[in-house]
Symmetry: D2
Subunit: 263 residues, 4 copies
């Protein structure tokens, strides 16, 4: 069922049918990468510029041969960067490699174990990049104040984590995500920590505009099938959000509200 144009995801002025964004790391090989991304229906695909060949190394296989820019929106990301300076430099390199392409996904990590973002460096890099003409989609903590600041700085999309990168724990703080969504004027795309289909559906039901994931698909036993699962989960969650779910109640009777005292 194709998405009606009225429900397109709009980022930096471009409309997308798919609300599932996927990464390109951790796959077995190029062919699995290609097949999984195709099964996912994703139109925006992230690439870790610092560790993926998209032309920097002429003699090696080029990811863009299996994920052609003619078919996908390539979203270079700054994975592996631990300082604002590194992140900015990496974005500029990406812009060159991709002929002036200015959509980037910014992530500045705080440490290598948790892979949690460094919010100070993230804010700094975001300001520099926005000023330098980039369309910045920014990975950050699920902190509602921080998310609003990044939006005010001029980021085109804010991407709070669900849980640590590669954890597969799913959204750990639903109320934070909800608050972020309620306050946002730019697309909110949950990034990092998704593990299975219901995690993605939950993000969409909270009102998120999309979900970005990599490990959940790449580390499934059958990545291509999981990619399809995620495609369905994103559509299902989005439609549930638009459909307006029934209220939660103790019992069928309308006069039995959920007891606000029970967590």
């Amino acid at each position: 069922m194709s998405t009606p144009k009225t429900d397109a995801l709009v980022i930096a002025g471009k409309a997308y049918d798919s609300r599932l964004l996927v990464g390109t790391g951790k796959y077995k090989d190029m062919e699995q990468t290609r097949a999984a991304i195709e099964a996912s229906g994703a139109q925006i695909v992230t690439v870790a510029i610092r560790r993926t060949n998209i032309g920097q190394n002429a003699g090696e296989p080029n990811l863009l041969d299996v994920i052609p820019p003619s078919r996908y929106t390539i979203l270079p990301n700054t994975a592996g960067c631990y300082t604002a300076e590194d992140a900015v430099r990496t974005c500029r390199l990406a812009r060159e490699l991709l002929d002036g392409h200015k959509l980037v996904k910014l992530e500045v990590l705080g440490d290598a174990k948790t892979l949690y973002p460094d919010v100070t460096a993230t804010l700094e890099a975001a300001k520099t990049l926005v000023k330098d003409g980039f369309d910045v989609m920014v990975y950050c903590t699920d902190d509602p104040i921080l998310c609003k600041r990044l939006e005010e700085i001029g980021c085109v999309s804010v991407m709070p984590l669900a849980a640590p990168i590669g954890s597969g724990l799913g959204i750990q703080n639903r109320y934070n995500i909800l608050t972020i969504v309620e306050n946002a004027k730019v697309p909110i795309i949950v990034d990092a920590g998704v593990g299975t289909a219901s995690d993605a559906a939950i993000a969409m039901e909270l009102g998120c505009d999309g979900v970005l994931m990599n490990t959940a698909i790449a580390e499934a036993k059958n990545p291509v099938l999981m990619a399809s699962a995620m495609r369905h989960a994103i559509i299902g969650g989005r439609e549930a959000f638009r459909a307006g779910r029934m209220p939660r109640r103790r019992f069928a009777s309308a006069s039995s509200p959920v007891d606000g005292l029970v967590g």
Copy 2:
């Protein structure tokens, strides 16, 4: 994306592509009922014999005109029955109305407020109905011992509740559902309590064979769109289950298992 025949849901010897079963109650009118069921992709549709006209009242609109047995598997249910005797009688009435059709959904309620099942009466009615040649799909509590007993009695499918009928709370006890699924040799179909798309996906990810719902669709602000949401959620959850999800971890590193001490 059609379901490969190897993943069909088989109940009482018949194979179904769709793992979403839907009820026919609580809709605004016949047309909405029809449209929602169509959008859901469901092939098995439950009908509350005691309160829906499927021919008992000649002069009134007949649900089977919008949900024709030629296209759907009609699953009469015993909603509104509080005793084994009533439930058995209702099933026999349904068999007559539907020309010997023997697939029924048994539910015997314990009280009108919670709509929770009465397990003793349920066991009694199940025994009687199985002996009487019915193919019994039985609504029950999420009690693993009870579920196994119902299977041993000869029920063709066991249907533990996620939460009280009409509550929309989603699966309240995941470990019970998991235990039930692990121990079952017949299809396990979660029935009652689903509220939104992710609830359905979660049921499928736990290994359930299907999900039956009514209120979650009928009481959504846009039932037809919610029906489609559920269709996608069921497919997504099932594919995620078959795909084999990544493990849950504290962090990306493989040597950071989820702390078994944190709930």
Copy 3:
């Protein structure tokens, strides 16, 4: 801080200050058993008649030497029984061993792996025992209908599980426990599945009258300290319940109710 007499736990006409009931199994030795129970402040102590010597074997150490009936209310339980007949016989044996003592804890298990109760056998045994003059405290599933039936049969206390015996998972279905408590006229004592202090506190906050545990204390690295932890948790949870907690809200503002749509 002693419990005001107005908040005593009353079971079968006897008042107790402590709302923590403990088992006597799984300890390292008699001395640890004694020390842990003392630290817990428990006044009611369960004994598995089928596997603990309370006089059946004259030559062996007698548990009642460390847990004297003069100081504790001994609550014989039917652990290890898989049929109603066995459970009834075990209770009668206990009554003899304890000079006509009629307070018993009934448990009839469905299988040895899950240790989940067999509800049919439990109902049968409960009826027999009540008729035979016992004061029956009965372990059962967290099924609100079943709990009410056991109360109507004449059990003096109903004891729904939090989670499987020995799992340490804590209350898996808070709404069921809440419903059971709301409907009950006899003390509701959560039994089985508690793992740590907060689990016990949660049970009390839901309005339960008490909590019975064994493994959570005996299998802690330091059982005596855990017993003390549980004593405090039970008191804390009970006082929080009586104190009437603040409502749950999105934010401090009174006009920000928890969004009933988020689970």
Copy 4:
């Protein structure tokens, strides 16, 4: 039961028996404030300098008359400050009012609705205050990187929120709190969002060094009783942590680990 000196909470070189810290706002009157704090057993008490009279207004009732510095450690906080500058100024005012007392609780809010912290301003104020000789206990988000930065800056204690101030939702992200505790070399004290006794116990079971709360006690129907509940819950949770809880399992059998695939 007094706390053995080996388990004292040490902040800025001073040892405390009680791990419960309480606020002084939102009570009905001074007498209720006094009674609740006494029942809580708290030894550290926060005071919102900007809105509480501790001597600034000579003619008005002085909170220190009911909460004397001779008996309590007064912890001035910067509630109501939305900039680093305001927060620093408020701390300096507090130091004057309290004769050079240098222990302060820093909070810089991002907005008035969510009362969420502003992390950038918090970092800035923390640096200034530490440099100015204050012992800074700092309220912040549950961001593990941020918490470590604040510790490295020289704060004597880091205080991640459980949930928004005044929400009563309890810890929303247990894994974040756990990560923060694991990485910390200074006391971690959960601040904000606690609603009931079990919330406090959970914080202690995660390894937190203490919990600060205000609304949970002041807005309970019976604040004095809730204060006592919290006292017990903190002790219970701490003892459970020290005792080393049993592992969580599917069933009693040691070979039935919690399925890492189920959230």
